[in-house]
Amino acid sequence: MFDFVQGPLITIAFIIFILGILFQLIQFFRLTRKKEWGRLPIAYEMKPEKKTAEKILASCLASLNGTLWKTDPVLTVATSVFHVLLILTPLFLLGHNILLDQSCGWSLFSFPEPLSDGLTLIVLLCGVYFLGRRILLAKVRAITTIYDYVVWLIAVAPFLTGFFAYHQWFHYETVMLVHILSGEIMLITIPFTKLGHMLFFFLYRFFIGGEYSFLRGSRTW
């Protein structure tokens, strides 16, 4: 069991993750088609205004008022930090990079261990905040199903078990096994569950958003 989880299953998980994401991307573009008339002509050109530093800063601050920063600043910070650290922490963890170096001969830059430990703790705290919010707030509870708790567990479990493993709490081998397994489950489920918002966030927010604005729309959505 341990050999399988530590060996072939890692490769299988990465292959499913990459192929799954590629499949979803291809499907996404197959669902849309190129506009018959091609690119729309530009009706008018805006003359660039001379901007001073204060003007830029003021417009940035004013634009924040129209975002979630105004309605829910705590969640805005928590969700931004959580999602950034969710990617960065495992990528630049010393233990992961040593394993990468041993198996592939190359590795990424590593954070100092106490820093990675602190970042993991921050991810876990954000996770607790999301769970609390899901249980306590009526508006979130109204659309919560058991599936949401499962997805929450899939996202948080690798960090929780990694934290336990680093501090050598409980039975180390078992914790490590669960840690590797939970990481693999996360990779496999990303393309096929709502964790897919990892990919589609960028497509929906920036790509389609861009198509409606500065890209002037080259596809039909």
Binding site: L75, D148, H197
Partner: protein
């Protein structure tokens, strides 16, 4: 209720038509539905939610999940009772103002509009002679 859907006593729900409509935009709509993180951050962007004392049933995500989401979940196998239930959601609880904001970028109005198309195909829509819009619910 019978007054709002005149044919429902005699006419059967055309599930075949509903299914074909659902299949037509299945790829896009199912993606929208499945990537909704259920975060409820769209709530405050809906003026109806704010107006009705933050009642969760006016949240954009709640409206979509309980109309189009359920239609896809049931694969179009629905009855008049169900169509009348979502009638209130898609015609009354949402005015398609397009101001709802989703942090992931899901386009809620297109989904509600699509749900309207489906219920309209079964002649389920507000009637001008309805005594009170409250009777929809």
């Amino acid at each position: 209720m019978n007054q709002t859907v005149p044919n429902q006593e005699t006419k059967k729900v055309d599930t075949k038509k509903i299914k074909s409509l659902l299949n037509r935009r299945k790829g896009k709509m199912k993606r929208f539905l499945s990537y909704c993180a259920h975060c409820s951050l769209c709530a405050e962007s809906c003026f109806l939610y704010m107006k009705y004392k933050k009642d969760p049933k006016y949240m954009p995500s709640y409206k979509v999940i309980n109309s189009l989401g359920k239609l896809y979940k049931k694969r179009g196998n629905v009855d008049w009772k169900f169509l009348n239930e979502i009638k209130g959601i898609v015609w009354k609880n949402c005015v398609l103002c397009g101001r709802c904001y989703c942090p992931i970028g899901i386009h809620v109005p297109s989904m509600i509009a699509f749900a309207r198309t489906i219920v309209r195909s079964q002649e389920v829509y507000p009637q001008l002679d309805e005594a009170s819009p409250e009777s929809w619910l």
